[in-house]
C-alpha cells in the first residue's frame, strides 16, 4: 500500500502573528507541521507498521520548509517530495499534489482537514476532484481491510460510519491517531532518507491577496450589576451602538 501524506509548513500555533510589508512577518517565528496534517501523518505511520505500507510526505514550499519535511521523515515517512514553489493558494497547492499523485498510484492521500495558517480546508476536495477520487472530510478514524476503508465522520448531532474503496483522499483530524514525537533514531535516520525536490507546474493563479490585517483588539469586558439595567441599556446604545 502506498500512502501520500500532505504536510503543510505553518507557524507554531503559539506564535504571535504580525505583518510587515503586506506579508507575514516570520522573524523569530518557528514553524511546525500543520497540527491536523500531523494527525494524518501519525495514522499513516501506524498503517505503515500494520499494513506494510510505504509513506511519502509531500510539501509545496521553498527550501525553508525542509526542516519541517525532515521532521515528517523523522516521525516515520519513508521518503519525501518538496515541490519547489511558494504555496500561493489552495488551487495551486492541490494542482501540485495532483500532478505528483497522477503518476504514482497512491492508495491513500491523507492530509489534515485544514492547515492552521489560512484554515482554508479546500486542498483535499480539490485534489480528489482533480484525480477523480472520493474526498472524506473530516476523517476521524480510519481502518483498512483489504481494498476497503472504514472511517468515522462527525456530523450534526452524531457520528457517521462510512466505507470507501481505495484509493481516496481524506482530510483528517483527531482522534484518528495520537501525535507522534520523533524518536532520536528517527531523527538521525531522517537525513539519510530521500528528499526529492521537483519543479512546480504553473496553473492559472486564481486568487490575489490584496492586504492583510489583524482582527481588531478585543475591547475590555464591562460588568454591570443586576440592579443597574439603565446603565447597561445606555452602554449598549451609546458605546456599543448595537441597539
Amino acid at each position: 500500500m502506498k500512502i501520500l501524506v500532505c504536510i503543510s509548513h505553518v507557524p507554531d500555533t503559539t506564535s504571535k502573528i504580525k505583518f510587515s510589508d503586506n506579508a507575514l512577518d516570520t522573524n523569530g517565528m518557528s514553524f511546525v507541521i500543520g497540527p491536523y496534517d500531523d494527525y494524518a501523518l501519525a495514522r499513516a505511520v501506524e498503517l505503515k507498521e500494520s499494513h506494510k505500507a510505504t509513506v511519502t510526505a509531500i510539501n509545496v514550499g521553498k527550501s525553508d520548509t525542509e526542516p519541517t519535511i525532515r521532521k515528517a521523515l523523522a516521525i516515520g515517512a519513508d521518503d519525501a517530495i518538496r515541490v519547489d514553489a511558494e504555496p500561493i493558494d489552495a488551487f495551486f497547492v492541490a494542482t501540485q499534489i495532483a500532478e505528483i499523485a497522477k503518476s504514482e498510484n497512491y492508495d491513500l492521500i491523507l492530509m489534515g482537514r485544514e492547515a492552521s495558517d489560512y484554515n482554508g480546508g479546500q486542498v483535499h476536495g480539490m485534489v480528489a476532484e482533480m484525480l477523480d477520487m472520493q474526498a472524506i472530510v473530516p476523517c476521524m478514524t480510519l481502518d483498512i481491510d483489504g481494498n476497503t476503508a472504514t472511517m468515522t465522520r462527525e456530523i450534526e448531532g452524531g457520528k457517521e460510519i462510512i466505507t470507501c474503496d481505495l484509493p481516496f483522499v481524506a482530510g483528517c483530524q483527531e482522534p484518528i491517531a495520537e501525535w507522534k514525537i520523533p524518536n532520536m533514531r528517527g531523527i538521525m535516520m531522517a537525513r539519510k532518507k530521500p528528499l526529492k525536490v521537483v519543479e512546480a507546474v504553473q496553473p492559472e493563479v486564481l486568487i490575489e491577496t490584496k492586504s492583510y490585517e489583524l482582527p481588531p483588539a478585543r475591547s475590555n469586558c464591562k460588568m454591570f450589576t443586576s440592579d443597574d439595567m439603565a446603565s447597561l441599556v445606555r452602554a449598549l446604545k451609546e458605546e456599543a451602538k448595537v441597539i
Binding site: K16, P67, R70, K71, A74, I181, P182, N183, M184, R185, G186, I187, M188, A190, R191
Partner: protein, 601 residues
Amino acid sequence: METIERNREALKGGEFLIRESEASDIFTPEEFSEEQRMMADSSRTFVDREVHPHADRMDALEEGFMESLLDKAGELGMLGVSVPEEYGGLGMNFNTSMLLADVIGAGGSFCTAFGAQTGIGTLPILYYGTEEQKQKYLPKLATGEYKASYCLTEPDAGSDANSGKTKAVLSADGKTYHITGQKMWITNAGFADIFIVFARIEDDKNLTAFIVEKGFGNITMNEEEKKMGIKGSSTRQVFFNETPVPVENMLAGRGEGFKIAVNILNIGRLKLGAGVIGGCKYVISQAAQYANERKQFGQSIGNFGAIKYKLAQMSARTYAIESACYRAGEDVDNKVKDLKAKGMEDAEAKLKGIEQFAIEAAILKVHGSEVLDYVVDEGVQIYGGMGFSADAPMERAYRDARISRIYEGTNEINRMLLVGMLLRRSIKGELDIFEHAKAVGEELMGVPSFETPDDSEFFAKEKAVLKNMKKAVLMTLGKAALTFKENINDEQEILMAIADMIIETYVAESTILRTEKLVGVRGEEACRGQIEMSRLYLNYAVEILATKGREAISSFATSDEMRVMLMGLKRFTKIDPINMRDTRREIANITLAKSEYAFDI
C-alpha cells in the same frame, strides 16, 4: 580556520584564566545543528506532554509511573543518546547530551530519574566496563529495559565518599564477592534492576565498584524518603546483606572505585549545569506570562519596574549559565576528538576529556544550581501569594530546585575543589598560574596602563574588563597560595571567595564571547536583548569579584600588602557604569512581549 582548530586542540581545563579567548574559540548553543535541535524539540515535547500534565501523579510516587516515563523515554531513544551505536545507543557527542539534560531539566523529578539512569547509572559501565559487561548491560540500559541506580553515599560517607564502610569479601573459591553495607539517598532505588555499588575490599585505601543486579538477591530497602523537593524521584536506603556478586562484575580494577566515582561526578556536574537551564526557562516563561496576566492597581504587574528588574535578572543569569555550559561541553568534545586522533581508545578519551575540564564542571555545577535557586525564588515572588500556593507551578519548582546545591558534591565542596584543582595543576606545571600571577604582581608595582580600548571593535571595553577580571583572580589566588602554601586547604573561607571570583570570570567571559559571536552572524539589531544581558551580567560579575576579592584579601594580607592588593583589586574591577534601570527594562520588555523566556536558541 586552521588557527582556530589548533587553538581548540591546545585548550586545557582552567586555561581560560591565563589566556585570552576569542569568540571564534567558543561554541554557542545557537550553533546546534538541525538534528540536535530536533532531538531537543522531541525531548521538550516529551516533557510537556508526558511529564508536566502528570506532575501530581509523579510527585505522589504513583506505583509504576516513573518507570513508565523512563520506558517511554527509552522508546524515544532518549536514554541512549550517549551510548555508542554498537551498544544500541545513538553515539551522539557530549554536547548533545548536555542539550538533552538542559531540556529535560524542566521536568522536575523526572529529570533526576533520567539523570540517574543515563548518567551515574549507565556511564560507569560505558567508561570502565569490560567488553562483556558493556555488551550485557548497555543495550538494555539504553532502551530502559534495565533501570539503574548508583550506590555511593552512606550514612557516614557523604561528601567524604571514600570513607564508606560497605565491604566486599571474596569467597574462598575466589568466584564471588559478598557485599555488605548500607547506602543512602539512592535515586531510582525503588525500581532499579542494576545498582552500581561502591564497596571496600579488605583494608584497601580506595573503594572498588561493582555492577550488582537486583536478581543477585539479599538486597533490602527502606521506605521512600520524605523529601522537600523532587518528591517524584524514588529515593531509598538500600541494604546489601552479603549480596553475592560474581567477580566478573567488578568494574575496572580493585581500588579503582573512588576514581570512577570522582570522574562520573565530573560528568554529573557538567550535566547539572546544563540541567538547570530548562528549569530556569520554564520558570521565566511562567513568570512572564503571569506578570502579563496579573493585574493590580489597574495594570499588568509586568508594567512595574520592580517586576521588570526580576525578569531581567532571571533572563540574564540564565543566558549566562547557558553560554558557559555549551562552551564547556564543546571543549570536552574537542578534547575527546583530539585524544582519539592521537590514538586513544573511545571510552578512555571521553573520560580524559571530561577529567580535563573538571574545573569547569565544578564551575557549572555551583553556578548553575545557584542561578536556578535565584530564578525559582524570584519566580515565587512574581507570583506573589499564588507563588506560595501548591496549585501554581512555582511552589514545586522552588522545592525541586533546592537539591541542586547539594547533590553531585555540595557547592561548598565544589568551590574548594575547583581552586584546589587549579593550584594542583599549577604545581604540576600543567597550567602556568603562578607565572601569570607574578606578572600581575609586577604590573601592580608599575605605572598603571592608560591604554584605552579600541571603541570601534565590538565589545572592546567589555573584553578589557574581562582581561582585568582575570588579573584580579590571579593576583588574589597567587598571593593566597604563596601565603598559605600546602596549608591552603585549611582556609575554606578564602578558597570559597576565590572560587566565586573564578566562577564569575568564566561565566562572564562565556556570555560576552557568545554574544559577540551571535552579533557576528545576526547583526547588532537582532541581538539587542543579548547585548544588554551580557553587559548587565558583566557588571554583576565585576561587583562579585570586587566583593569577594576584598573578602579574601582582607582575610590574609598583611597591612602593606593589603593596601597594594586592594588598590590592584580596585583597578582590576573598574567598569564603566551602564544605565542598569534602562538595561533591565529593555530585557524585561522583550521577555514580556513574548510572554516567555525570549532568548531561546
